[in-house]
């Protein structure tokens, strides 16, 4: 009898746990399953962090998945029946999160590789018409509001995967697709070096995207509002 009462009390205790709140954070649980709690990126080394990225950038990516400019089955499946308004709201939710970044994982690449990557990121290569990454993604590489993403705090495999996808047309952006042009001018060695160096850099504090760029964009980008 006492056991039965105890069991009842336990069951009642279980049922009385607070129900999930009626919030946007609760609604976007399908996103955080892969992108990590609060969109901080998961430990699997592939799914990128989405927390704190510029809102318009995130919105563009969600729409790009829905409209075939990006092709990752699980993302396409999740956004396929979501409206522009809702995707904008979801993008805004993750963009507004300010969470500390973990330190980058140590890299073991040869110094020459890292130097090559650093040079391309900071200076580009004028002879090959390659603008520096910082010319668009901000001097601190934390992105530029509202549409250009930061490049730090991302898994190296993800960075390589994205540049590769741009090279072979699996990832596209609104035309004119400036990143596609740049990606096609990069050699596989360039891509490895850039990804290695970027992944080795700590994210500065504060990690917010810059408000604007000091100079105009070095080339035309369809996803950046004028």
């Amino acid at each position: 009898m006492r056991a039965a009462v105890l069991l009842l009390a336990l069951l009642a205790g279980g049922a009385a746990a607070a129900p999930p709140p009626d919030t946007l954070a609760q609604r976007v649980q399908p996103c955080t399953a892969c992108h990590g709690k609060e969109g901080r990126a998961a430990a699997d080394g592939y799914h990128p962090r989405i927390a704190g990225k510029p809102a318009l950038y995130l919105y563009h990516q969600l729409v790009n998945f829905r409209e075939g400019r990006r092709r990752y089955g699980p993302m396409v499946y999740l956004v396929d029946h979501l409206s522009d308004d809702y995707l904008r709201e979801i993008a805004g939710h993750f963009a507004a999160l300010e969470l500390p970044y973990p330190l980058p994982a140590p890299v073991s690449d040869p110094a020459a590789t890292l130097q090559h990557g650093e040079r391309l990121v900071l200076q580009g290569d004028a002879a090959r018409k390659l603008p520096a990454c910082v010319a668009c993604h901000g001097q601190a590489l934390t992105g530029v509001a509202p549409a250009i993403p930061g490049l730090l705090g991302l898994p190296r495999d993800y960075l390589k995967g994205q540049i590769g996808a741009w090279t072979n047309g699996q990832r596209r952006a609104h035309a004119p697709d400036c990143m596609a042009d740049i990606a096609k001018r990069l050699t596989p060695e360039d891509v490895s070096a850039v990804a290695a160096w970027l992944a080795s850099r700590p994210v500065p504090v504060p990690s917010k995207a810059a408000a604007s760029l000091p100079e105009p964009l070095p080339l035309d980008c369809g996803s950046v509002p004028r």
């Binding site: 069951l11 279980g14 049922a15 746990a17 129900p19 999930p20 009626d22 946007l24 609760q26 609604r27 976007v28 649980q29 399908p30 955080t32 399953a33 892969c34 699997d44 829905r66 409209e67 075939g68 400019r69 089955g73 699980p74 396409v76 499946y77 999740l78 956004v79 396929d80 029946h81 979501l82 409206s83 308004d85 809702y86 709201e89």
Partner: protein
């Protein structure tokens, strides 16, 4: 003797070919010599736009991110890929040279402008019931669209399915041109609903199931459920009380499900979320009530509930543990679900949930593996979603959760094996 046998074989073959040919043109009037493209009236265009939504034409006839109705989307079938055509009025690559008669012939007889037989991935076994008046309105609407020059992609079908002869045999076996015959004993709502469900709505294309040659049974009149070819989703029987039958639902709940994707009794996920998002949410409430009236009155088909053997106790215990860890927070410790302040389901109850107990368990497996959002409709603009668990849980754990659910809170359905999970999980893009 040998010659007589040969002669007999030849005669029989000729007779068979003649029969197939006759069955393929039966009831088909030749296109009038003076049939020419013509624009419709504004009323026809407006009506046609609505009917195109009811038929969900754009979903197949537009590529992801492509120009509306310019075609090019591949429909994967067990026989190869069929590419939807360009329906814009471009003269070279679209319907620019088609007359309203040609368009009617395609919808009604499944024959293209040049006389070639069309593949039934285009649901003409259903659209054959569309009236000439509605066909003309659709034609008028499509003609009013901006012309897009985009050549059709040739189908990529395996032999012999890529031949017109094979298609002619298929049609002789499975296709009869039809017409919607109203039933005088039924209400006007029922008849309107039947017309939409069995015609433009082509519900039977998924909910009718398909035989090994890809034909829907009973000429598309059955709604007894089936696995959707190549997609690993099960389209439940609309007539079965233990699947998606709605005989005991209030009419308003059926309308709510079709219009918003959520209802007090169930919600739309997977391919049905797509249908709600792109088609049903745009229909007039009177048409949705008509569809609901028709569905509610479908004669009930067989039930398989409660015939399962209990799962292995160790499997069930593992399932109970994983359920508590991953599922109970949203679906409740007793599978009771959670309602929002507005009174709609944030997370549906799993106790008494037909998707949980349905056979085959394809949808249960897919929902656990891939999760998913309900459609964002005007009536439910910020839907909740289920996280995908395919990365966090392996096939054994998913089978255990599914088996636990299928033997809890009054349910007694067959356990789900890890092999079932492997068979149905597929990829999210299916």
């Amino acid at each position: 003797m040998l010659r007589r046998g040969l002669l007999l074989t030849l005669v029989l073959l000729a007779a068979f070919a003649g029969l197939v040919a006759w069955l393929n043109v039966r009831g088909e009037a030749p296109i009038a010599a003076d049939a020419a493209p013509a624009d419709g009236t504004p009323q026809q265009i407006e009506r046609g736009e609505y009917l195109a939504l009811a038929g969900n034409c754009m979903t197949c006839h537009t590529t992801r991110g492509g120009l509306p109705y310019a075609g090019g989307r591949g429909i994967a079938t067990p026989f190869g890929t069929v590419y939807a055509g360009n329906l814009t009025p471009d003269v070279e690559t679209g319907l620019g040279r088609w007359s309203a008669e040609h368009f009617w012939r395609a919808l009604h007889h499944g024959r293209s402008f040049d006389g070639r037989l069309l593949y039934p991935a285009f649901p003409y076994p259903d659209t054959t019931r569309v009236t000439r008046e509605d066909s003309d309105a659709l034609y008028a609407y499509l003609r009013s669209l901006p012309a897009v020059k985009q050549a059709n992609t040739p189908h990529a079908l395996q032999f012999p399915y890529d031949t017109q002869a094979a298609l002619a045999v298929w049609r002789a076996l499975f296709f009869r041109p039809g017409a919607f015959e109203p039933e005088a004993s039924q209400s006007a709502d029922w008849n309107r609903g039947a017309y939409l469900v069995r015609g433009l709505g082509h519900c039977a294309a998924c909910h009718g199931g398909r035989n090994f040659l890809g034909a829907t049974p009973q000429g598309g009149l059955s709604l007894a459920g089936g696995l959707i070819p190549m997609r690993n989703w099960y389209a439940p029987a609309l007539s079965a009380p233990d699947q998606a039958g709605v005989a005991d639902w209030p009419l308003d709940d059926i309308v709510a499900l079709l219009r918003t994707g959520v209802s007090p009794r169930g919600s739309a996920l997977g391919p049905m979320a797509d249908v709600v998002y792109r088609s049903l949410q745009h229909l007039r409430v009177d048409d949705l009530r008509a569809i609901a009236t028709f569905l509610k009155a479908l004669p009930p088909t067989g039930s398989q509930a409660g015939d399962g053997k209990p799962p292995d106790p160790a499997l069930r215990e593992l399932g109970a543990k994983r359920y508590e860890k991953h599922c109970a927070e949203c679906h409740g410790a007793q599978g009771e679900g959670v309602k929002s302040s507005a009174g709609t389901w944030m997370y549906p109850p799993l106790a008494g949930n037909r998707t949980v107990t349905m056979d085959p368990p394809a949808n249960l497996v897919r929902v656990i593996v891939h999760g998913g959002f309900l459609p964002a409709t005007a009536g439910n603009p910020r839907p909740f979603g289920m996280p995908p668990f395919g990365l966090a849980l392996d096939d054994d754990e998913i089978a255990a959760i599914a088996s636990f659910l299928r033997s809890s809170w009054g349910a007694a359905a067959q356990p789900v094996s890890p092999q079932d999970v492997a068979r149905f999980r597929g990829s999210a893009g299916d």
